[in-house]
Symmetry: C2
Subunit: 333 residues, 2 copies
Amino acid sequence: MKSPVGILAASCHLPQHKRSVEDLFREEGVNFSSHVAARLGIKQVPIRNGQASESASNMAVAAGREALQRAKVDPLTVDVVVEYSIMPQEYLVPVWNMSNKVQAEVGASKSFVVGFSGGGSSNFMVALSSAAAMLSENDSMKTALLVTGDTTIPGNRVLNPDDPVTVMGDGASAVVLQSDAPGGVVIDTELWSDGNNHDICYIPGGSLIHPDDISLYRMRLDKARYDAFPKAETLRRLSDKLLERAGLKFSNVACVLCSNISSQDEAVMQQAFEGKVSPVCASNRESHGHLQGTDFPLNYLSLTESGSVKQGDYVLGVSHGMGTTAAVSLFRY
Amino acid sequence: MKSPVGILAASCHLPQHKRSVEDLFREEGVNFSSHVAARLGIKQVPIRNGQASESASNMAVAAGREALQRAKVDPLTVDVVVEYSIMPQEYLVPVWNMSNKVQAEVGASKSFVVGFSGGGSSNFMVALSSAAAMLSENDSMKTALLVTGDTTIPGNRVLNPDDPVTVMGDGASAVVLQSDAPGGVVIDTELWSDGNNHDICYIPGGSLIHPDDISLYRMRLDKARYDAFPKAETLRRLSDKLLERAGLKFSNVACVLCSNISSQDEAVMQQAFEGKVSPVCASNRESHGHLQGTDFPLNYLSLTESGSVKQGDYVLGVSHGMGTTAAVSLFRY
């Protein structure tokens, strides 16, 4: 990074209503046992009420507005709106993308928009990396609004019902990035993909191949390959590489933020990251489940509020992206 | 750009089989008149034969392989695969994206992947801008493979049947970018979005809102707003801004490449760009129709082969992105 880019503010916009995991399992005909409950470590998830105000894009607009207000940034000074949503959008291409709607509705009318897709929860780091490079590279650009809105497919909140991996909720979030921000500096991002896993987790329906079969409009996970992917090892390797490039050691890292998949997933991360995964991750996972793109902003805000990190502390954000794209970002508070 | 990034090689992979526009109009029940024919200026378009080898992602893999061969780049040295496809993909999120498959199949196993969506034909410039910033910004990155594969929805090759705007074909293409490339230097890109047009052109079916209604799996264009968007003026304004930033004038530009939408669209571009739109655009449009993301690589290759530009010449690539995201890139041959 030639000119340091940092997080000025972040915001989450979540549905008021929450559903218990037990309730969602019952609704989706999935067997709920104490064993599964312990493995997931999720008690309840926010679920949209079905009204337009809680559509993915409208929640994203609300999160975007709030992040800009918190950052005290005039929407007209936003140079780029970068969208990192993970779940299916309200409509499909060629030029639909919630980023376009967010740009119009938050009033960022001098910006251009960029939408990412296909990186799972790592989309956030991909967006962060790309936006930081653009702000750092172009003297004419100073401010980026990163935004996501992810709502689940009704009847498809439990991922992989035969052997549940996570329970997904609805939500949106936004992050304002600026060059020369006083803190939350995005030092660097390391990304790595295993393209062989391109079909490890996808929705076969609603696509060009199966546009018409509604029964295929479900997230399909290849659990054997998902389990086999060396998630924690890959993320630790990327982290060590990233830290080395920044002239740091893992002992310099104050804490690690991961996605809120399950307690099983977190246990593996704790092991690889020597117990440094922040307790805010477990707490948010229990109370919100997996919120896709919103996991990182939610955990980042909780970490800041917790007071457990101080200015100058190094924090890693890590995401294994379901085995396809793994990502690590390094921040200095 | 601190370290110049340039196009090392480009490649297009198109279906062998072509369909005449008259034939496609008949198939889709659209009235074919000499007036419409003249306005479109498209004679035939390549259409996939239905076999797996001509799926969007498999054509993208073929184009990617060929571009790497032409560039004499070992796939293992590719740092990032950037996908800029525009049409619906074979499958949907969360981690499906043809970029992941391309990464695996071309053997770019040390790279990470990035997929863009929602920018129409401007996706290419968005991808170019983002990849150039990443290569220029990060000393650890040198080579990017940009790739697209776009296949049309059967029965939906004529855009806006009531008042046809373009005829779309199938195809794939790839571009290899490298820092310190000897030519095809990507000097800069200017992007601008009008988010109010987020719903100017989209596919309502197959999405989160209408996953099940196959009749909605069609590209819907709001022609009145499409016509009203000041395409040529916007692109000329962006071009002038870009040229000024580069310390150049429009008189320094040898020629302009635009998307292959229609002869009507090109006429407007010719006027705004003082007759500098290259004749290769009209020729490719007539013989291929609108190939979405592949229009630019196809025109770029034809321009190079035409011998009408020499080393050091400045070329603009422009795309109005259906009124949502407008984009201009400046190259030095």
